[in-house]
Symmetry: C2
Subunit: 440 residues, 2 copies
């Protein structure tokens, strides 16, 4: 597909019709929207905020191109004066957000946009689209990192992610969450993520024999020999590797590891380990892949399977047990007045808010407080930080490596008990009750 990842038309039609209405009415006061997740899906104790960098890039470069304006004009739904106004449309608002990699909980704003209402409104769809998905994947991938400490974890999921951008963002989110790298080449080029690879069954099958395939591959990639051994018979292939290793060693080529991709991985890993060890090849590692997720990793390691690393793909990159979060972006204030949606099951906490994290004496998370920005700040570390003012970035640039370290540091401070307590400040509760008494 040709490019559209930066297109302003990656939005919902109603954003444009609402913009036309705001334009017609002359409604241009400041709106405050906040982005949050309403609830934790089953199997998640916390979530990880991700995707802010892509969001900031999007709002910085947001423009209607002449081609897009022509197309919109051709829909005969917008007035010429409004289309003229779109021609010069820019995002000039403020954004405050939790830094990428921050652990968060339901109903905590992770991002606040303060801007003239049309600007804050238009970006809603793509804002959620960018922040939601990386948050979904990082919050799943971190569970693999927690399940397999000290093991190499590589994102193998590109092919079954939901499109090209999904593949890139999944690689980024997995690395943020603690993976060692990805197989997706473009993610390496784009984000500087370490790239790993092995070989495919097709490579083995294209050769007359497995040994020939192994030997040719090792000669071609002598610095990174990972041999896939489950194409025909895993243990038979392991014996071939054990016999080949000394021969390659004489040529100065070391086999790094073998990969298992099917069958009972724990049983195969044990059998292969025994074969390699018996041949004096303790240095060859065992790398596993195939339908893995945090539960499978935990089972394999609990069973004592001698596995050194994992290629984790589809199940994490699609977050298959919870492929979406109830992630929303809601108007909390307009023209200086707090606003509250009261729809059944979807009521929001009104006003501009801040999240304060309180730590226990041992340094672990104790609880969070969601409070109004303008009330006397409660104890705790404020989590939302300014990152954009009047459309310009503020604060020091944050690298992906720094965000990854931020995740790792918080994982050492995870609370010992669950569920985690998130308090709503009394002033915020009062404001909500007060708004509920108003007529609309």
């Amino acid at each position: 597909m040709s490019d559209s990842s930066g297109s302003v038309l990656l939005t919902d039609w109603y954003q444009l019709t609402m913009l036309q209405a705001y334009f017609d009415e002359g409604m241009a006061e400041t709106a405050v929207f906040e982005c949050f997740v309403r609830s934790l899906p089953p199997g998640r104790d916390f979530l990880i905020a991700a995707g802010l960098e892509q969001l900031l890039q999007y709002v910085e470069t947001l423009r209607f191109t002449p081609l897009e304006l022509d197309w919109l004009a051709g829909q005969h739904r917008f007035k010429p004066a409004f289309l003229d106004y779109l021609r010069d449309f820019r995002f000039c608002g403020d954004i405050d957000a939790m830094p990428e990699g921050t652990l968060f909980y339901p109903n905590e704003p992770i991002l606040r946009v303060t801007a003239p209402i049309a600007q804050a409104q238009l970006i809603e769809s793509r804002l959620i689209n960018l922040v939601h998905f990386q948050t979904v994947v990082a919050s799943k991938a971190v569970r693999c990192a927690l399940a397999a400490p000290g093991k190499r974890l590589v994102d193998f999921g590109f092919r079954r992610t939901h499109g090209g951008e999904a593949g890139l963002m999944a690689a980024r989110a997995c690395y943020l969450a603690g993976y060692d790298g990805t197989a997706t080449v473009q993610a390496g080029m784009r984000f500087g993520i370490p790239v790993f690879g092995t070989m495919a069954h097709s490579y083995v099958e294209a050769h007359a024999t497995e040994v020939e395939a192994f030997e040719h591959f090792a000669r071609s990639q002598p610095d990174n020999v990972v041999l896939l051994i489950d194409t025909y018979d895993t243990e038979a292939a392991a014996r071939k590797v054990a016999a080949l290793a000394p021969r390659l060693a004489q040529q100065g080529i070391r086999i790094g590891s073998v990969r298992l991709d099917s069958g009972d991985l724990a049983a195969h890993a044990r059998a292969v380990r025994a074969i390699l060890d018996a041949a004096g090849q303790q240095g060859i590692g065992i790398f596993c892949s195939g339908n893995l997720d945090e539960d499978e990793l935990r089972c394999l390691l609990a069973a004592g399977a001698p596995i050194d690393g994992f290629g984790v793909g589809t199940r994490v990159d699609t977050a298959c047990d919870s492929p979406y979060l109830d992630c929303v972006y809601k108007l909390q204030e307009y023209a200086g007045t707090a606003r509250r949606k009261r729809s059944t099951g979807k009521a929001t906490w009104p006003g501009r808010k801040q999240v304060y994290r309180c730590y226990a004496a041992d340094g672990r998370f104790d609880h969070d407080v969601v409070a109004l920005l303008d009330e006397p700040p409660p104890a705790g570390e404020p989590l939302l930080q300014s990152c954009m003012r009047q459309g310009q970035r503020v604060g020091a640039a944050v690298t992906l490596a720094q965000s990854r370290d931020h995740v790792a540091a918080q994982l050492r401070r995870l609370p010992a008990t669950r569920p985690y307590r998130v308090e709503i400040s009394p002033a915020l509760q009062d404001l909500a009750q007060q708004l509920d008494r108003e007529e609309h």
Copy 2:
């Protein structure tokens, strides 16, 4: 994110290291790969092939850019002669595929690539990435079309799809499957899909009263007035709409419909219908959204809820019950010899194959036969058709509208019994057994 949707580096690292090895070994014979899905996920009786158009665009334009080659050179893993070879790398192979919109079943090849092995190998990752996701969504979305015949169905899912490309491809796959349109503006511009929209809660909240919001919006978009009525109190808002409608009618503005987005949709729809009807507003339709999927649609309609259309989003666009398929692309022949992977649980049917669909006397699907391409063709309609020869498209261009009609026509011929029978021809079974006896 800046563009990368056409990048050749949207691939796995091992494709490049295998290409280097093929290059070193002088392996350039013709390979035949086929793409298929190993099994139906729960809750699917059939799948719908989709994404072929995007795949053909990708292979037609596949190039290594100077920037990409520089980056690869900087990884110090590839030899200069190989990088030179990549500079002129093009896809010059053949592709045969089921036309988009074709219903298919497990283990049936939906696409065959015949090309020098490096070309067929390199495209694997992005090929699956492009074909898999649209197939996932079309196969889910068609269930909504079947559950709600005659109702307007609009894709509302962009914001929670897995990235921008996912949003566009989901909109396309839903339309292919039978939806009436999408809310995603770029999908309208790109694919010519009809675009629909309503209004958001934020629009209502930004106004002092609901009536003011409704009236302003109607004036601004007089040709397409859909009013969202669940921001505060659904039935109260319905009464306001009933009172507003005659006033707007005097100005020549007709309210098209109201939208419900929360609570017990069936109960609210009934109450709202009664309020509108009592006010003589039988012409105002009821449109519903909010966490819908085929099961919810079926329940609402079975309960007789007076709903005229649905905005279906997240649950279908992420295919939340089965967000991925076991979709693979496997080497079936190299240098004129059939190949077969034998990994536990992942064995493949070898050789170049064709799928034949056999119909019953009443025109319905009866069963399919998977056979070798070079055996005497069994009865039935061959489903894979040539679409590319030596890198050039062949055959008439197929429009998205034609593919959508193709889906609709097949839905009228769905088999009455399940599971559907897919036969493997005796010659194909013989070939597989013969390969299993070979040593590797």
